[in-house]
């Protein structure tokens, strides 16, 4: 949607929540998920959470992660990963114009539109 450096994204998401410090990520151990980790992940996922939600999610996710962590004990290094249930091959089609959606119908469902385009909030965080 717009080109932003990782640093800029990090800064902006932290700016949005000045009350919580960013937590440097830890190495992969069978870790626990605490409130600080939930805040970091919510920042990555772009979801504002209330303090209550952070506390509740930390407790719930910790239990879930402990349960799902067992997967790392099941398969050895010799087992290949499967990303897809049925083997996939590339699908091509002829390079000819296809049907496209009606612009007016699409924009009629947008939160905001202008000049036959989506209107979005300001991209950069500087004061206007």
């Amino acid at each position: 949607m717009c080109a932003l450096s990782g640093d800029a994204l990090e800064r902006m998401s932290v700016d949005a929540r000045p009350e919580v410090p960013a937590v440097p990520h830890r190495l992969a151990t069978m870790s626990t998920i605490d409130s600080a980790e939930v805040v970091r992940l919510a920042g990555l996922a772009r979801i504002d959470l209330s303090e209550d939600e952070v506390t509740r999610l930390a407790g719930e996710l910790d239990v879930i992660v402990q349960a799902v962590a067992t997967v790392s004990e099941v398969a050895g290094a010799d087992v290949p990963a499967t990303s897809h249930p049925i083997p996939l091959t590339n699908v091509f089609r002829d390079d000819v114009p296809g049907e496209t959606l009606d612009t007016a119908a699409v924009l009629s469902q947008a939160p905001e539109a202008q000049d036959d385009k989506f209107a979005v909030p300001q991209i950069l965080g500087e004061e206007v």
């Binding site: 949607m1 902006m12 998401s13 700016d15 949005a16 990520h25 190495l27 992969a28 069978m30 870790s31 998920i33 980790e37 939930v38 992940l41 919510a42 920042g43 990555l44 996922a45 772009r46 979801i47 504002d48 959470l49 209330s50 719930e60 996710l61 239990v63 879930i64 992660v65 349960a67 799902v68 962590a69 067992t70 997967v71 099941v74 398969a75 087992v79 290949p80 990963a81 499967t82 897809h84 249930p85 049925i86 996939l88 089609r93 959606l101 009606d102 119908a105 699409v106 469902q109 947008a110 939160p111 905001e112 989506f118 979005v120 909030p121 300001q122 991209i123 950069l124 965080g125 206007v128």
Partner: protein, 504 residues
């Protein structure tokens, strides 16, 4: 006219073809039924009276003009709200898409319209198909027609309940880890998850793209087969759509209903039974096995050791894919947009505010979990390991299907539970899908049909699994078992459900 709603789709289609009733009459009868019982059941999020009646009138006119029609033309259908319908509000059970009118039809909806099936409305579901009870719908839960204090299963509880409550003879569901089969099990109906790629995913609001598959929700095996014939087949708009032509599933079901089970090798999966499965569920399952044995099938026990890790792998793969798929709900192009309470309303902060306000608890939980599983430092330990488990599960299935023709298990470990029983314990909720998840991880087809009632008087589902692309086998064996059980019961299981109170 009230009898119309009790007909199976196949029976209704024959009645329509014979000119005994019109599609407008049949459609109106179902709309009346929705008006009478859906205040209690809440299977529908949206009912499209006018549009359904207009479609029905068009079919009646075509029939009167002597046109050749599809066998199911004029039979009304309900569609799960995760499938986009042009001009009809589609929300996926989320506040994020409240009031959203899609500008296009899913391929399966195009096929329904072309075949002349009037769409009655859109059915309730757990938000973005995340859940096993419909309690995670942003618009309130659907209630099980067998007991309005209990869950109808999920995520497609609305479609299953609509069919069970005679609000629709047919419905569309989607199944990512059991969302067609588990609701079928707890409502005493039939549900099929086709082979991955059998039904186009174009126009499904994606949950987990490598697991999602749309399929039929009906009251009989033949009706599911008829509907699968309508919606299945290759679609160039879905690059994972299977290119080869499919056989007639309806033919397979009809042959199976009068067929012979002698020599059929049926494998009972050791890992999908026993401890954790309610005694009443196990007893009903055993009774169905006994019926199969009496009809000449050979029952053997088959072990699939990696299935014990399926649930864990699924709850890493699904949230990972979901966290990526749901990134598109950012308040920019469609759906909800929420401005942050204070500070500059940058795109970045609008996204976070929108997603914080628009997503419900379970969706947030899974997106955060998926973000965690995919984040640097954890990827190999979690997502990478889960994908290896997926390989092992596929190998287990491959080995099992060398020994047997079909695999069977109870569809769900319990019957319908009361509202709230598992809402505060996500892990307990996830366990509902323990028997259905392996099929999604391997892409193979599965069916759930009722095997009877448990000791609590609630329906139990019997799951049959077949190798990939062998969906026809499910319909054949499923129809055979259905015939055996029906002979024993004397009437469909649903006839034993309590009568719903009819309001005006």
């Amino acid at each position: 006219m009230s009898e119309l709603i009790r007909l199976t789709a196949a029976e209704l289609a024959a009645t329509l073809a014979a000119g005994e009733v019109s599609s407008v009459e049949a459609t109106q009868a179902h709309l009346d039924r929705i008006g009478a019982v859906d205040g209690d059941v809440h299977a529908f999020l949206n009912v499209s009276d006018a549009e359904a009646l207009a479609s029905a009138a068009a079919v009646d006119a075509a029939r009167a003009a002597g046109e050749t029609l599809h066998p199911l033309a004029g039979v009304p259908i309900a569609v799960k709200d995760v499938v986009v319908t042009k001009g009809q509000v589609t929300t996926a059970g989320s506040k994020m898409l409240e009031g959203w009118v899609p500008p296009y039809d899913a391929t399966l909806v195009t096929r329904l319209r072309e075949a002349g099936l009037p769409i009655l409305g859109k059915t309730n579901m757990d938000e973005f198909a995340m859940g096993s009870s419909t309690e995670h719908s942003a618009y309130g839960p659907t209630r099980n027609p067998w007991d309005l204090g209990r869950i109808p299963g999920g995520s497609g509880g609305g479609s299953a309940a609509a069919v069970a409550a005679y609000e629709a003879p047919l419905a569309i569901g989607t199944d990512t880890g059991g969302s067609i089969r588990q609701p079928a099990a707890v409502t005493g109906t039939v549900g099929v998850k086709p082979t991955y790629g059998s039904v186009s995913r174009y126009g499904l609001i994606a949950l987990a793209s490598s697991l999602d598959q749309a399929g039929p929700c009906t009251r009989t095996v033949l009706d599911s087969a008829l509907l699968h014939d309508v919606i299945g087949g290759h679609d160039p708009r879905d690059s994972t759509s299977l290119p080869e032509a499919a056989p007639s599933y309806a033919d397979a079901a009809r042959a199976g209903a009068h067929g012979d089970l002698k020599g059929l090798r049926v494998g009972v999966v050791t890992e999908l039974g026993g401890e954790g499965y309610e005694p009443g569920v196990r007893a009903s399952f055993q009774a169905a096995l006994d019926a199969l044995t009496a009809a000449g099938a050979d029952i053997v026990e088959v072990t699939c050791p990696s299935f014990s890790a399926a649930l864990a792998a699924y709850y890493l793969i699904l949230p990972s894919e979901a966290s990526s798929n749901l990134a598109k709900f950012d308040g920019m192009r469609y759906g909800l947009r929420v401005e942050p309470g204070e500070g500059a309303a940058t795109a970045e902060r609008v996204m976070s505010a929108t997603r914080g306000a628009g997503f419900g608890d379970e969706v947030k939980r899974r997106i955060i979990l998926g973000t965690y599983a995919l984040s640097a430092g954890y990827y190999d330990a979690y997502y990478g390991s889960a994908q290896k488990v997926r390989t092992l599960i596929q190998r287990d299935f491959a080995a099992a299907f060398e020994q047997v023709d079909v695999l069977v298990s109870p569809t769900a470990p319990t019957t319908a539970f009361p509202f709230g029983a598992k809402l505060d314990d996500p892990l307990a909720m996830y366990l509902n899908d323990v028997a259905t998840i392996p099929a999604n991880l391997a892409g193979i087809p599965g069916i759930s049909l009722p095997s009877g009632l448990s000791d609590d008087g609630l329906p139990v589902g019997f799951q049959i699994l077949a190798p990939a692309r062998q969906d026809a086998r499910l319909y054949g064996v499923g129809a055979a078992l259905e015939t055996l059980l029906l002979d024993d019961w004397g009437a469909p299981l649903l006839s034993r459900a309590p009568k719903l109170e009819v309001s005006r």
